[in-house]
Amino acid sequence: MIISVASGKGGTGKTTISVNMALALGSGVELLDCDVEEPNAHLFLKPVIERSEPVEVPVPLVDLQKCTFCRKCSDICRFNALAVVGKKVLVFQELCHSCGGCMAVCPEGAITETGRELGILNFGARDDIRFINGRLRVGEAMSPPLIKRVRAAADPQRITIIDAPPGTSCPVIAAMNGADFILMVTEPTPFGLHDLKLAVEAVRLLGIPCGLVVNRADIGDRKVFYYAISENLPVLMTLPFDRRIAEAYSQGKNIVEEFPEWRERFRELFDKIEAIIHDTDEAVSCAK
């Protein structure tokens, strides 16, 4: 079971919800931090990191002994990652999307692949909560391939909770695609609602069931709740604005640990999600 926690707008509480839900479940669960540009979940879960591995993507390596400078490689590349200049082939690794087109098209077999480092994957655990995050190398532009590698390391035997990046473009899609449920975390403000609407459009495009957590539910206005009703989005949990929670967060402390009465509420949140996934599965199998 894969639950992806997303939001559209940044800073609404994705990491808080992901980490606290994982802690409330306690075992048989894993937390994947897919916000590889700014990974934060480890600051709150505080896992023991057991190993790290570099993540590379393939990029072309041209053997100039074999190359006839026919330009077929630079012609096929839609990303302008190759240029043939006189008796040289320039490879702009950071523009390469690793499609392998140049290697496939080269009539001389002069192109092989080498690796370019995107970032690192960290593997760890806190008790029986498995933890993986990706850290994009500073200066690297492309996060989706790294997000896909974090996803590929998931353990299908466990409940997988994904902490997704903000936004609605390709990195978020990489963190949501193929999930069984998207949990949207929002705040009842004009910015929160505007970005939520965009994110919900993205979820609809993927055809995944979705529910809402409204964080700091007592600030702003009521429009997000009206929107939830009109879009038939279940509000699965609300959290009030509480200065004690905000201060605990600022120190890296977790709600379920500081305020134990919340443990049960996060478990209930998971139970509601599980029920929706179960109902969706039944509806799908009936439809078939």
Binding site: G8, K9, G10, G11, T12, T15, E37, E38, N40, L43, F44, I76, R78, F79, H97, S98, C99, G100, G101, A104, V105, L136, V138, G139, E140, A141, M142, S143, P165, P166, G167, T168, S169, C170, P171, V172, I173, N177, T189, P190, F191, H194, D195, L198, E201, A202, L205, L206, I219, G220, D221, R243, A246, E247, Y249, S250, Q251, G252
Partner: protein, 301 residues
């Protein structure tokens, strides 16, 4: 021409609220929303759109099943798993590399260019604004960011404005890299939390990589004064000028609900004065010299 870009690393620290407040204080400036992925500045600026244009991004493959001979060459070559056994292209997985298009032996694959979004030139009560909307689930956000920044620059030149205020995106990836290259200075808005300082450090590393001068302000500083001090110390170590502190103030949310900037909401407050002082610091900073020359002494280390 000078351009300040407001970034944060972490999302939700108050970039857009502060950008809008700066816009209310600035004179003769052009506004630019470079957070094309989840643009919010227009909610406070209520821009009157005068000009709109399509943003054309990359291409995506489309298989013409009438011509397809089911040879599977495309499936074998596609590294993104975007082509199904039934020879349908999953538009979300398609990377737009065109390898299938070039290798199809019967030329059954079309490769139409995609409309990936829209961009606008608008008028607001604080001057002209360039902004955009990236299509849902689209790629090429970096390209669109570069485009809106270029248009903002041209507009500023045309209007004789000598300052561009750019609201940047969160993170450190493609759209952020596109937002900060060539900026006169960055204003980094940080919240005093463990994640705020962690993410600030990564965005400072990125800015150092691009040799851009930077300044920092701590928003909601009173949520954790110790962390605020840690952030300011980190800033000093990295040659980032400390601009000041802004209190946690519900007036930001209340003014947002009314579609206003902080300065258009209620009676003058202490928070308004904090933001005003920060704006004065930014305006008088050596890196914001009127010549628009990059101040090498103030680049982030």
């Amino acid at each position: 021409m000078r351009e300040i870009v407001i970034i944060s690393g972490k999302g939700g620290t108050g970039k857009t609220s502060l950008t809008a407040a700066f816009a209310a204080l600035a004179k003769n400036s052009v506004l630019c929303d470079a957070d094309v992925d989840a643009a919010d500045l227009h909610l406070l600026m209520q821009p009157d759109v005068r000009q709109r244009a399509d943003f054309m991004g990359g291409c995506k493959a489309h298989i013409n099943l009438d011509l397809c001979t089911s040879c599977s060459t495309c499936i074998d070559l596609c590294r993104f798993g975007a082509i199904s056994e039934q020879f349908r292209v999953d538009a979300i997985r398609c990377e737009g590399c065109g390898v299938c298009v070039d290798f199809c032996p019967v030329a059954a694959i079309d490769f139409p260019v995609q409309r990936c979004g829209e961009w606008y030139i608008s008028e607001t009560r604080f001057g002209p604004m360039v902004h955009a909307r990236l299509g849902i689930a689209e790629e090429n956000s970096g390209k669109l960011v570069s485009l809106v920044r270029k248009e903002a620059r041209q507009l500023a030149e045309k209007r004789g404005a000598d300052l561009i205020i750019t609201d940047g995106p969160p993170g450190i990836g493609c759209p952020v890299i596109a937002s900060i290259g060539g900026a006169t200075a960055l204003v980094i808005v940080v919240e005093p939390t463990v994640s705020g300082i962690h993410d600030m450090e990564r965005v400072v590393d990125l800015a150092a990589h691009f040799k851009v001068p930077g300044m920092v302000c701590v928003n909601k500083f009173d949520l954790n004064v110790e962390m605020t001090q840690a952030i300011e110390q980190l800033a000093i170590r990295r040659n980032v000028a400390v601009l000041g502190r802004v209190s946690f103030d519900p007036a930001f949310t209340r003014s947002m609900v009314e579609g206003k900037t902080l300065f258009e909401y209620g009676e003058p407050t202490a928070t308004q004065q904090q933001v005003r002082d920060i704006w004065t610091q930014i305006s008088n900073s050596p890196s914001m010299n009127t010549l628009g020359i990059v101040d090498l002494k103030s680049t982030i280390q």
